[in-house]
Amino acid sequence: MTVTRAKTDVVVVGLGGAGGVAVQPLTDSGLEVVGLEAGTWLGPRDFAPDELRNNYRGWPQAAQKANREIPVHRPNASAPDSPRGSVHPMMNGVGGTTLHYWAQSWRLNPWNFSIVSETTRRYGASRLPRGSTIEDWPFGYDELEPFYDIVERAVGVSGQAGNVNGVIDERGNIFEGPRARPYPMPPLRGSEFTELMGNAAGRLGWHPFPGPAAVNSEQYDNRSPCLYHGFCNRGGCHVSAKNSTAVSTIPAAQATGNLEIVTEAHVTRVLVDAEGRASGVEYLRNGQTYVQPADVVLLGCYVYENVRLMLMSTSAAYTDGIANNNGQVGRHYLSHNQRAGVLALFPHELNRWYGLPAQGVAIDEWADDNFDHSDLDFIGGGNLWVYSDQRPIAAASMPTFGRAPRWGSAWKSFVMENAGRWVNSYLQKTTLPYEDNYLDLHPTVKDPLGFPVCRITADYKDNEKRVADYIQDKMVEWFMEAGAIETIRQPVGTMGVTTHAYGGTRMGDDAETNVVDRYGFCHEVPNLGVVGASVMGTSGSHNPTLTAQALAWRTAAHLVENWSTIVS
């Protein structure tokens, strides 16, 4: 028998990077919020520096709803399904994937908000790749800047500003859009290896700088500074120096007394009333079905689950899924072009055994439209990132650069000499949305409850492959300048399940091509909001989280300011 709970003002589905931010402005305003989270609370005792558990066995194992509904990928509509992984790259838990993410907290460069008009202005409309469904965002960087500023402080972001109100500081990213204020904390410490790379970049005439991170470089809000012990990559921080929403915005929301958190709540559908408005959600907890009625529903379940939940929420008013009468839910999907890395071998120790993926050095010379594309055959670019983070199993799994076999005595000798001498790079590159890249429900693969899993039909196109080639050339040049003796270029791969997924509920003014309006509320269902990167129509060259968080705060602030209009 279904238990119907007391009605609340707002129900937020998913207390991760985005939903976990949205609850703060909502509860600050006095709204009553129920947060439904599929995972559990996790704390310092759960954050052991254990590579096998964290990186190979899908930590945390408890209550991982995500692992039971891993999306299935195929590169195109006539290809068979790709092999399916056993661990979802995202996790459930209060704080969601901000518990185990790398915590790189970038703003998008202004170009990413207006790629169509800027490309047309600078190079002509013919340079927009054929088949791309890209649109300008409904607003520019300037409109999001105040929310970036708020979130950098609410969450806690360290970094070196490169542009404060138009004043350029060469220690930071000289290509960034103007910011009202510097970061609330100075950047993380570098290492001798990142200095080596920074010096090499300087010799090439580039502008190296420390990347921004939601990691404390000093004590912040009574939380510890980072101790650089490592295991941050798919691991939580036992001293709370990594600013997941579980230690920042969610506790702030709880302190208002207006947030009720229900853990291990598995939401199965968004409910609608007779007028087609969202009336709440249905969820399962410990085998019991509940209904949580609410004036406003906010979905914050990451790209795949936001889309799946909407497509599964069918009703008389929305036969193809809620807010999908225009057939846009699942469209304009893209995932970051984050493969095609470059690996390098050096003739000396680099000592990357400690540190964290956010302790690194960045180059933005070749990101976005920071360089002239007149004579190139692509638009966009990539951020180059090298960092200090290495763990033993991954180190022993190193490539042998054609210098040794993969096992046996010769392999062992090679690894004994070189485990501390190789390095990878993280190259985030522009991806555009295309007509034939999309998400839908899988026709046959189900989760254990019998609900279809999300299906990804997507692959990289020529523009992405050309960006990858160009950026890999730059990374090879950088490594060689720093003294590398061998490099390996990794393949671009295909668009499988990833932590950097975008689109599916794209934001825009045109209801024919977008699911949510410029504030994140569905064109067809005005009291259903969506937060997370599923509203983003472009990827940029930088990590999505801070932008998703700034947008989530903006959506929540809009709801607070327009409460009576939205609920009426």
């Binding site: 520096p49 930590w59 194992q61 005595s409």
Partner: protein, 216 residues
């Protein structure tokens, strides 16, 4: 439900006889090689698997290898939880390697000399063991089995010793990984820094809990 020898117990024991780092790894390896039965493998399977891991990461003039690091024991105990899904492929794969060794060289894998063992492993690595195979004699995919064993041997050699592998920190010493530190200074991150090995498991540290259920 204790399943594994606690590192803490070992450290307590060794504390009585001196610092871990001063005791040569081989002493531990010999002391721990008493023939306890395997849990998931038969004696024959265990013998074959031990011979395989000993060739993947051999003991040689540069020091001990995967066998001494207890990688085979790690695989055995992991088949009880996180690697339970791999039980059948191990059963079929180990039988397949022995069948192939008998056909190609007339002996079971563990009874071959090292160069013949390497040629059998190369046949699996390159997938050629599948050619002309009796459909029932080998695992469904020789290369897939080889990849699985190689991955698990690496995990068992270089993982946190809590899981029964990386015995006596043989794996971490092989890589020059100086071990877990909860606070790392700028000096520790210098490129020529050689911090002394800490030789601890994460779960020797009182502030961390292991997951009760390893299986994803």
């Amino acid at each position: 439900m204790p399943r594994r020898v606690s590192r803490r117990t070992i450290l307590k024991r060794t504390a009585a006889i001196g610092a871990v780092a001063t005791v040569p790894a081989r002493v531990f390896a010999q002391a721990s090689s008493a023939r306890e039965p395997y849990t998931h493998f038969t004696a024959d399977e265990a013998r074959t698997l031990e011979a395989i891991v000993a060739r993947l990461i051999p003991s040689d003039e540069h020091g001990p290898g995967a066998l001494e690091a207890a990688a085979a024991r790690f695989i055995d105990s992991s088949l009880g939880d996180a690697l339970a899904a791999s039980r059948e492929i191990y059963r079929a794969g180990l039988a397949g390697i022995d069948n192939y060794a008998r056909r190609a060289h007339g002996l079971r894998f563990a009874d071959l000399d090292e160069s013949a063992q390497d040629s059998v492993l190369e046949a699996f690595d390159r997938g050629v063991a599948d050619e002309n195979a009796d459909a029932t004699a080998y695992p469904p995919d020789a290369r897939e089995f080889f990849e699985l064993v190689l991955q698990h041997t690496i995990q068992g050699t270089f993982c946190d010793p809590y899981y029964g592998g990386n015995r006596d920190f043989i794996g971490w010493e092989m890589l020059g990984y100086p071990g877990l530190r909860l606070a790392v200074s700028a000096d520790d991150q210098a490129m020529n820094a050689q911090p002394s090995p800490t030789n601890i498991s994460a779960y020797d540290l009182p502030m961390f809990d292991a997951d009760e259920d390893d299986a994803p």
